[in-house]
């Protein structure tokens, strides 16, 4: 998968490029908006974009891309980490916003999450631990063996995998299970989660399904 890194600070761009390569991504680096525009004539699976660049604001590039109908997953990277500026970035069409300074591991995790959510080619198979979910056929496998799961449990698992490592709200999961009907039932969601958890614990899935009290659930990779 190809990722475009737009960052004028050479050292930082170098580290990002290196980290991405180490994790199996192909990375290209642009140091200016002009360079980025040239490179963006080719398709990329994700873009990491700094805001302050020698020839302008990265935010303008995001607006340009979105206005042109380009919906490539985009992570804003910036020193301007204040809440209002973060919101400005997201409103301009960025999918996520990472204030500097950041951990390369967090950057990597966020890029992966962006790719998962985008539902692009990478989204066809959602992976976590030993778990694989094929979104095309809604089949679940652990270490290559198919795991039998009910329809509801698969829907839950797909939502949790798309946001692996992050909390998915109860309301989101209920919406996914029952749509907009008023017959939502907390117990029904809890029953489905209970079943899913039991199945995941039974096979060596390499994941933990964590209850976050008062908010929802979180699927994370089990500590090895």
């Amino acid at each position: 998968m190809r990722i475009l890194v737009i960052e004028d600070e050479r050292a930082l761009a170098g580290f990002i490029e290196q980290t991405l390569r180490q994790h199996g991504f192909a990375a290209s680096v642009a140091g200016t908006l002009a360079e980025a525009r040239t490179l963006l004539t080719q398709p990329f699976d994700a873009v990491i974009c700094d805001r302050r660049l020698p020839d302008g604001d990265g935010l303008d590039l995001v607006k340009e891309l979105r206005a042109a109908g380009n919906h490539v997953p985009l992570l804003m990277l910036t020193a301007l980490g204040l809440p209002k500026e973060r919101v400005a970035g997201l409103e301009a069409g960025a999918d996520d916003y990472l204030p500097k300074p950041f951990s390369l591991f967090e950057l990597l995790a966020r890029v992966k999450a962006l790719l998962r959510r985008s539902g692009g080619p990478a989204g066809l198979v959602l992976e976590l631990g030993n778990l694989q979910l094929n979104t095309l056929h809604d089949t679940v496998q652990v270490k290559g063996k198919t795991v039998g799961l009910g329809k509801r449990e698969v829907v839950l698992l797909r939502h949790l995998l798309q946001r692996a490592g992050q909390v998915v709200g109860k309301d989101v999961l209920e919406q996914a299970l029952y749509g907009d009907t008023d017959e939502k039932s907390r117990t029904a969601l809890e029953v489905a989660i209970h079943r899913l958890r039991k199945v995941l614990a039974g096979v060596d899935s390499g994941t933990n399904l964590v209850t976050v009290r008062g908010i929802g659930y979180l699927l994370e990779e089990a500590a090895k």
Binding site: E9, A11, L12, F15, I16, Q18, T19, R52, A79, L80, G81, L82, P83, K84, V87, P99, K100, P101, F102, S103, L104, F105, G165, Q166, V167, G169, N208, V210, V212, R213, G214, I215, G216, L218, E220
Partner: protein, 483 residues
């Protein structure tokens, strides 16, 4: 009521004006009183004068004089007063006295055997016209004698009719004026004084209304400019006297706006300048193989990151006040907590949330609320005891975030807690709690997080409190204004 308010605010333009007006009014009234008293006095004198002249005339007209046929000398002089007048001279309480003498000082007639003593100062006077003598009060007498010397020219020479009276009319007049007229005047002028004062207050208040309106407008414009909007105070409806002030204000404001935007640019620039090398440092560190002291170095970098971020936020917070609107506190905090769960789990903390089913509507700036509560949660996570290696979820320490229907947010940890003596200090800038030997905070805080929380809550008109948690740990409580 109004007056009390006025006198309380010593710096008020209105109270100053009213005070001066009251002073002028009091002086004017004093002068009026003094003038009235003087007039009364003069009137008394004139009445006395007139009375004495009449008495003298009466006596002169009643005189029957016998003279020696050859020498023309006065052989007999009689005063033929009406019985009524004669009685008046006999009645000493009325204080009338007469004494008649010739040029040589020979007594021709007197009203009383003591008359010569009473009119003594006039005995030597030989005026050619009626003359008034005002004598000093003598020992033992309560008031001075008032004396008129009336010359009467006869063929054989002049005789002098001396009429005296104690100044009883004066006294009576003044006394009646003082005991009757002046209080009467006071009864009229007192309410007049108060009425005038109240009218003055009302008038001045009305005249000062444009100033109040202007003050409000100026403060609004000041806020707008601080928020980074372009604004200035309009000159319509502004009194001419105040216009120079408004013009000066607008000029200062324009300068301020210019320097503010310059400062903001500088702040943002500083952030960029500091943060990018920090990011490089962090990335470089993460790329390195394990080495001795890595943990400490990572912690230092993190601490620096936090400090830079918080400094920036604290600076910006002072320039950009929160913009408040009704919002659901529970939903805002729920979303925030959800976002912080992964961070908490990395630190081995079980972050939990609790809120009522219904929305909790409060006056808030959502981004600021997220910053304030986020700082508290971040603190709670960093102060929570680390679980030992191999511990499973059940042994994770918990941090509870509760939103109550009253618009309060509680963040509870099981950390070391804050000593009671330190509790009032925690919201001040750069307070860090117990430090280790090298002077660093034990938990890598920058010491600004809680100051930011306090400032945000101040801008929300809310409260920020810290207390010990039962069973160990700390509870931070933020109280919002419900809407």
């Amino acid at each position: 009521m109004e007056l009390r308010v006025v006198s309380r605010s010593g710096n008020s333009l209105l109270s100053g004006l009213v005070l001066r007006f009251a002073l002028v009014l009091a002086v004017v009234m004093g002068v009026v009183f003094w003038q009235i008293e003087r007039t009364l006095d003069a009137t008394g004198d004139m009445a006395q004068d007139e009375l004495l002249r009449r008495q003298a005339a009466e006596i002169v007209n009643s005189l029957s004089i016998d003279t020696h046929r050859k020498t023309g000398e006065i052989t007999r002089l009689r005063v033929n007063l009406t019985p009524q007048s004669a009685a008046a001279y006999l009645e000493r309480s009325q204080g009338y006295v007469y004494y008649i003498q010739d040029e040589t000082g020979k007594m021709l007639a007197q009203s009383d055997p003591m008359a010569a003593i009473w009119v003594q100062p006039a005995l030597t006077a030989r005026p050619s016209v009626p003359t008034l003598l005002d004598t000093e009060a003598r020992d033992g007498e309560s008031s001075a004698l008032y004396i008129l010397v009336q010359p009467v020219i006869l063929p054989s020479g002049s005789i002098y009719v001396i009429v005296g009276q104690y100044r009883t009319i004066d006294d009576v007049l003044l006394q009646s004026a003082k005991s009757g007229l002046l209080p009467d005047l006071l009864m009229v002028l007192g309410p007049l004084f108060i009425g005038a004062l109240l009218a003055a207050v009302a008038l001045m208040r009305q005249s000062l209304r444009p100033v109040r309106t202007l003050a409000r407008a100026m403060s609004q414009v000041g806020r707008d400019v601080r928020l980074g909007h372009e604004a200035k105070v309009g000159l319509e409806n502004v009194p001419t006297e105040v216009r120079p002030v408004v013009n000066a204000f607008n000029e200062v404001l324009a300068d301020f706006a210019k320097s503010l935007s310059a400062q903001q640019a500088l702040t943002a620039d500083t952030a960029h300048q500091l943060k990018t090398p920090l990011a490089v440092m962090q990335a470089r560190l993460e790329q390195l193989d394990d080495f001795k002291g890595r943990k400490e170095l990572e912690r230092d970098v993190l601490r620096m990151n936090r400090l830079v971020r918080q400094l920036l936020h604290y600076a910006v917070l002072a320039q950009h006040p929160a913009t408040l609107a009704p919002g659901d506190l529970a939903a805002e905090v729920r979303e925030l907590v959800a976002g912080m769960v992964p961070l908490a789990r990395q630190a081995g903390v079980d972050l939990r949330f609790n809120a009522p089913e219904a929305a909790v509507m409060v006056q808030m700036d959502p981004l600021q609320v997220a910053e304030a509560v986020g700082n508290l949660i971040d603190n709670a996570i960093r102060h929570s005891p680390q679980p030992g290696k191999g511990d499973k979820d059940k042994k994770m320490t918990t941090v509870d975030v509760d939103v109550s229907a009253e618009g309060k947010v509680d963040v509870r940890d099981r950390g070391p807690g804050v000593a009671v003596a330190d509790q009032p200090m925690v919201f001040t800038r750069f307070w860090q709690g117990p430090t280790n030997q090298s002077g660093e905070s034990a938990h890598g805080g920058a010491g600004l997080g809680l100051a930011i929380v306090a400032e945000i809550m101040r801008q929300h008109g809310g409260t920020a409190n810290v207390a010990a948690r039962e069973g160990g740990g700390t509870v931070f409580t933020l109280g919002f204004v419900r809407s």
